[in-house]
């Protein structure tokens, strides 16, 4: 249950980045129009995600978020994390299922965290933009393989 809530808050964070239009909009219809032009977002509810450091379970540095993969409905599916290396040499990009991230906008020290061990990320296949398919580190156990309501 808590896992689901964390996912929801993570999705809420991206929705305010403009990545999720309005839930339920079909992929091929024109983008929905808002009722009002300006909608205030209370401070501390959202963060920009690009370039944020990802923290591991033991407070270790798991890399930086360099991109977010979204599906046809604008839902965030995977975070691309640039991991490892020294002074920019030898880092690898891996794709991680979006639902594995925990976003806590209020926690200034650890805004984004991930429940994976370093070994999991090390073993993951490298993410290549424009490749035939994306292989990402899978969803947490007990969740459907694709976000509910996608099909």
């Amino acid at each position: 249950m808590t896992a689901a809530r964390g996912t929801l808050s993570a999705l809420a964070a991206v929705s305010l980045l403009g990545l999720v239009p309005v839930a339920g909009g079909a992929a091929d219809s024109p983008p929905p129009r808002p009722n009002e032009v300006v909608e205030p977002v209370p401070p501390g509810e959202t963060i920009g995600i690009l370039g944020k450091k990802v923290w591991g379970p033991d407070g270790e540095d798991m890399g930086l978020i360099v991109d977010v993969l979204v599906d046809a409905r604008g839902r965030a599916r995977a975070a691309i994390i640039d991991f490892g290396g020294f002074l920019g040499v030898g880092s690898r990009k891996v794709a991680v299922d979006w639902r594995l991230l925990r976003v806590t906008p209020g926690d200034n020290a650890r805004q984004v965290s991930l429940g994976l061990a370093r070994a999991d990320i090390q073993a993951a296949p490298e993410y290549k933009p424009g490749g035939p398919s994306v292989e990402m580190i899978g969803p947490p156990p007990g969740t459907p393989t694709a976000p509910a309501g996608n099909k």
């Binding site: 920009g48 690009l50 370039g51 450091k53 930086l64 360099v66 991109d67 640039d82 991991f83 490892g84 290396g85 020294f86 002074l87 920019g88 040499v89 030898g90 880092s91 690898r92 370093r118 070994a119 090390q122 073993a123 290549k128 933009p129």
Partner: protein, 405 residues
Amino acid sequence: MAQAGNPCAGAATAASAERGLDWLNLFVANIQTGFGPFVAVYLTTQGWTQAAIGLALSLGTVASMASQVPAGAVVDAVRSKAAVALASVLAFSASALLLALRPVPLFVYAAEILHGFSSCTLGPAIAAMSLAIAGPAMLGLRLGRNARFASIGTGVGAALMGACGYLVSEQAVFFLTAALTLPAIWSLRPLRRIEAPAPPPREPGDCRSDARRIVRLLTGRALVTFALCAMLFTLANAAMLPLVAGELTKRGGNDASLLIAACIVLPQGIVALLSPTIGQLAQKRGRRLVLLLGFSMLPLRGLLFAGLTAPLPLVAIQALDGVAATCIGVLVPLVTSDIAGRSGHFNLALGFVGLAIGVGATASTGLAGWAADRYGTEWAFLCLAAVGLAATLLVLLAMPETRRE
């Protein structure tokens, strides 16, 4: 010889000029560590997208390639090479501060272009001051000393900046880089009176014969062959470290970052140890022998990287990189000076070789990335080893001995 027309002929001032050049090489290498691949990490933390970072870095590469040859001509034309060096180092300060204070596109582009151009003036200025201080006969020894201090600078710089990025912040690395330009400027003090020997006298208005001389120099067999060798060397060499570092990230366990740091620092230690010996060897036994020694490390290193997978042996093989880096670091300015040192166009020729090296480095990452994607990392290493073998054969079969008796 070269010192004949030099105002600082006294032994004390000559010694302090030598020391100034030592420190200059050290601090410039320090500074250059900050402008390396770390810029991409920093811009990522500033919320830059990968495409925007790629554009900014490409701008820097294009600026530096386009300005290699013109920058060489500028350094030839300016009498005081210390003034050129000062302007270049000040441009580095500006560039580092722009990156640290205003990481927005316009300023980052400006910083990358400024850094690209001033790298092209600084390298030749240092080589020209070395030639002026040591003279053609002792240049090999002086360049060995340059390489020794530069490698100490790179090793110390990598350690300092790695610690700074880890303990303080990514932004702090660029403040540190800017701060390191101050001792570099200080080290220029004993060098300000160094002037290169006057170029061969020429009559006013014979620009056309001068242009013809430049064309003859740049199309001469020795320089073109050497530039081609240097290009192939870098084509084989530049992608090896990133490729092996990527492998270490995959297999190196929790210490992967430390192992990568060792891959960067270990060759610098070897360079610091070997370069005076290599300079002497080039002086006594000729340039071809040293070139062959350095170039032959490439196929060997590529083969070993392809065959071995355990992290520690991968780090140990980087010692071969140290040997290769020593030879090429000393021999690029030395051979170029053999060919063009007395023409008054030494820096132009150095810019020409620098351009060839830049082309090789850019193509190297592309080649290795393509081979690794399609056929796997082992084949990428073998592919680089094959290019290295071709470079070695080119030296063996086509490169003339340039040392003068």
